[in-house]
């Protein structure tokens, strides 16, 4: 490109030089022609000469007229006035026509000249005739006058000439200088062109030499490349060059090949592919292809043929390089065959693998448990429908599922721990039970297989959980029962032993001292034995009652009855039995009809009242209150006894449970439990409010009977 620009520049400079040369030549020639024209037109000397000629003729005419006036005879016609006058007239005429007239006008004597000419013309006929000497003398004077006019004219013209000559000299000088400049231009540009020419010739000869060297080099290369055939050809596919490599390949010597059509040299060049490539090369397109000659194993040959366009000496030629690549070709064919076999094998294996994979996926899909696989970065590889259907996943995983996201879905389930929240690659193995929705427990297990794939299994363990829960509750019941049994045994061993010991000691006393015993003492002793007996009976009854209740053998026979009457009657009876006690009643005047089994409610009330008395020390004070509220009747028993510790309050209705404040006071721990269960059977409940050392308040409620409700409504 740079070379091109340089070439353009050089061409431009040459053009400029040529233009300068041409312009200089033109201007110089034009100036010279100008001068030539000037010299040709301005004939000022001729003007002066003509004026002087006319003046001379005027003088001759005047002389001739003078001689005629003096009466002289003329032997020569040419000296006679008519002849001289004619000559003078002709000379005057010359002065009055063409460029001479312009000069005369310039000196301002044209009018005088014309007048003189007219005078002479008028005088001509007079002179032809015989004129008188006077007339001749007059004419002579006029001619003399003309002569002096002509002299003046000559003077003037001479002066004009002088100034003209001066200006012309200046002009010529300028022209000479200009011409010198043009000449300089001509010389310089011509010198430049000559230098250019010289250098061009020099470069051309250098280029030619370089070309020859290159030619020699390429010939050397072409002729010594024996492993590659090189052939140069023209558009008629005639061979122009045929190197020894071609001879090795096709067994045609260069001498036989050059100048002949290539199709005639070897059948190779008649193949359609080959002909097309050769023609393309000549048209300017490169091609590469391989020509395979198949036959038996010894004749198999493969030639790699490269065809390129070549432009040489303005001719479009083609060059083809032929290389024997049989070995590579055979190796490639072998490799292709092996490749093909391998591909078939790969396809077969792939198909088998696909089938196995399909089976596996089908198995996983049909499995009851959820299954998913992730790669070691936590990217999901596979997940079956059960995974997608799992409640947390279906609810929370609407973005692309990865293992951390998947685990986080489960983090809010019951049973989950923080490991599910912080799971990051590399993931740890996790085993956890989670409650994925109501009553559905699942076992979530994250395991790593060969350190790369992470498997997640989600197994529904609701059934196991239910069984486990049932087992747990059964176990607890069992534990309770054992506990109750143990309590019962301790209670029995304690509560039964005391009356038995009283019985035994009383009986021993009576036996040992039977003789000494006074009747009072005996009575006392027997009374003690009876008391102990009745106490044992009560104990047995209460145990039996509890057993009956447990066995469901207590029947509820509800009937309308008056709660106030029931309570007051029982209270008064108790008051009689226990002389020290004070029982206060706060009950309405009117009866409070309730619907209950009076026998059972009596037992409840007696239990509560006896407890109140029993845990109130020496002088118990008990307050009994009955009231109604809405459709229910309430009855409360209040004492100011030892009270129940706050932490033991919830347990006092358990069977055989006794508060620690109750130690040392006889009791089975069955009573309250029994009473509460009876109240539950009536659809009511015993409420307790108690403070240690402050006393207790037990309240139970019963439904008011319908009749009374109807009455109240009426």
């Amino acid at each position: 490109m740079k070379l091109n620009i340089n070439n353009h520049k050089a061409g431009l400079v040459t053009l400029v030089a040529l233009a300068v040369l041409a312009l200089s030549l033109t201007f110089a020639v034009v100036r010279l022609f100008d001068i030539d024209r000037d010299l040709r037109t301005e004939d000022t000397h001729a003007n002066l000469w003509m004026i002087s000629q006319a003046q001379f003729e005027a003088a001759l005419a005047a002389e001739s007229l003078a001689r005629y006036a003096a009466g002289e005879e003329f032997s020569n016609v040419e000296q006679a006035p008519p002849f001289r006058l004619s000559i003078l007239v002709s000379r005057m005429a010359v002065l009055l026509e063409g460029s001479q007239a312009d000069v005369i006008r310039k000196v301002g004597l044209l009018g005088d000249m014309k007048a003189a000419y007219l005078m002479l013309t008028l005088a001509e006929p007079l002179v032809e005739r015989r004129m008188t000497p006077e007339e001749a003398t007059g004419l002579r004077m006029q001619v003399r006058e003309l002569s002096s006019i002509l002299r003046d004219a000559a003077n003037e013209v001479m002066l004009i000439n002088r100034t003209d000559v001066a200006s012309k000299r200046a002009m010529y000088l300028q022209v000479v200088l200009e011409s010198l400049v043009f000449l300089l231009g001509i010389v310089l540009s011509a010198a430049f062109l000559l230098v250019k020419l010289f250098r061009g010739v020099q470069e051309a000869s250098q280029a030619k030499q370089l070309l020859r060297q290159e030619q020699e080099l390429s010939d050397l290369v072409i002729n010594n490349v024996s492993n590659q055939g090189i052939v140069l050809f023209d558009e008629k596919l005639e061979c122009l060059l045929w190197n020894p490599g071609m001879e090795n390949l096709l067994s045609v010597s260069p001498g036989d090949a050059i100048g002949r059509r290539m199709q005639d040299l070897d059948p190779l060049f008649s193949k359609p592919d080959m002909v097309r490539s050769l023609n393309l090369a000549v048209e300017g397109t490169s091609t590469v292809f391989e020509d395979e000659t198949t036959g038996d194993a010894t004749q198999e040959r493969c030639l790699e043929i490269n065809c390129f366009p070549v432009s040489m000496a303005e001719r479009k030629l083609g060059i083809a390089f032929l290389r024997d690549v049989t070995e590579q070709w055979l190796a490639r064919k072998q490799a292709e065959r092996q490749n093909f076999d391998l591909e078939i094998k790969v396809l077969q294996r792939t198909a088998a693998l696909r089938q196995a994979e399909r089976r596996l996926i089908a198995a996983i899909e049909s499995a009851a448990e959820g299954f998913a696989a992730f790669d070691w970065t936590g990217r999901l590889l596979f997940a079956n429908e059960q995974i997608w259907a799992a409640a947390p996943v279906a609810l929370w995983c609407w973005e692309e599922m990865s293992l951390p996201i998947f685990l986080r879905c489960f983090a809010m389930c019951e049973g989950a721990d923080h490991r599910l929240l912080v799971a990051q690659p590399p993931f740890e193995e996790i085993e956890v039970d989670v409650l994925i929705k109501k009553d559905v427990w699942a076992h979530l297990s994250v395991t790593k297989a060969d350190g790369a794939t992470i498997f997640v299994r989600l197994t529904d363990i609701s059934a196991y959980k239910q069984v486990a829960t049932a087992l747990q509750s059964a176990l607890e019941r069992e534990r309770e029962t054992t506990n109750a049994y143990r309590n019962f045994v301790s209670m029995v061993s304690h509560q039964f032993r005391t009356p038995l010991a009283i019985l035994d000691s009383s009986a021993q006393r009576i036996l040992r001292r039977s003789a000494d015993l006074s009747p009072e003492e005996l009575t006392t002793r027997i009374q003690k034995i009876r008391n102990a007996g009745s106490r044992l009976t009560r104990l047995v009854e209460s145990v039996l009652n509890a057993a009956k209740l447990d066995a469901g053998r207590i029947e509820l026979n509800p009937e309308p009855c008056d709660l106030v009457h029931l309570v007051v009657d029982l209270g008064e009876r108790q008051s009689e039995l226990n002389a020290h006690s004070t029982i206060r009643f706060d009950v309405p005047e009117s009866p409070v009809p309730v619907y209950c089994d009076p026998t059972l409610i009596e037992q409840v009330f007696i239990n509560l009242l006896s407890n109140a008395l029993k845990y109130s020390g020496e002088d118990p004070v008990v307050e009994i209150k009955v009231w109604t509220e809405g459709a229910r009747a309430f009855c409360s028993v209040r004492d100011w006894g030892i009270g129940i510790p706050g932490d033991e309050l919830p347990k006092i209705f358990d069977r055989f449970y006794r508060a620690r404040t109750a130690s040392g006071i006889a009791g089975t721990g069955i009573g309250l439990n029994f009473a509460q269960r009876i109240m539950h059977m009536h659809g009511g409940e015993i409420q307790v409010e108690s403070y240690e050392a402050e006393g207790s308040l037990f309240t139970f409620d019963l439904p008011l009977s319908n009749v009374d409700q109807a009455q109240q409504a009426a």
């Binding site: 002849f83 006058l85 000559i87 010359v94 026509e97 063409g98 001509e124």
Partner: protein, 168 residues
């Protein structure tokens, strides 16, 4: 080309020289003598000179040239006798001709100029030339026909009031 023309000219001159021998002698002029030819002649009628009156000149055959001139920008018709014919008639044998006018103006006309076929005009625009208007004889070149003639050198050879030719 010029050499060819020159050779042709020489051949013509030779031919003319041969034929001139056969010319009959010049008669004596009867009217006023208009032209005197002298110098290297083969024919003479008065001493060594050949003198021509109007009749003799007109007898040599007339031709015409229409051209502009230094004295007239308008084209004028000049009628007269070819100079070549006059020289042939007297057997003029030289390389140049010295022409003189009535006022003794002299100019040399090379014989070579005959290639332009100049004439000795006697009439201009049909009017007989008199002494007062550059007559009676006027050498006229066909100025318009040749660019070479349009120079002061040739203009100066248009000698008028011609009365003598001297062949040298």
């Amino acid at each position: 080309m010029r050499y060819v023309r020159l050779l042709g000219m020489l051949a013509l001159l030779l031919g003319w020289a041969c034929t001139a021998q056969a010319q009959e002698p010049l008669p004596q002029p009867k009217g006023p003598v208009l032209l005197i030819v002298s110098g290297r002649l083969q024919q003479a009628n008065v001493g060594t000179e050949a003198q021509f009156d109007r009749e003799m000149l007109e007898a040599l055959g007339q031709t015409s040239i229409a051209t502009v001139s230094v004295t007239s920008a308008a084209k004028q018709l000049f009628e007269g006798i070819p100079l070549r014919r006059i020289l042939e008639r007297v057997g003029g044998n030289g390389t140049s001709i010295r022409a003189s006018a009535l006022n003794d103006y002299k100019i040399t006309i090379p014989v070579d100029d005959l290639k332009y076929e100049p004439i000795v005009a006697m009439r201009v625009d049909g009017q007989m030339l008199k002494v007062r208007d550059k007559g009676p004889l006027w050498v006229v070149y066909p100025r318009d026909s040749y660019d070479a003639l349009q120079t002061p050198v040739y203009d100066a050879r248009w000698i008028w009031q011609l009365n003598r030719l001297h062949v040298e």
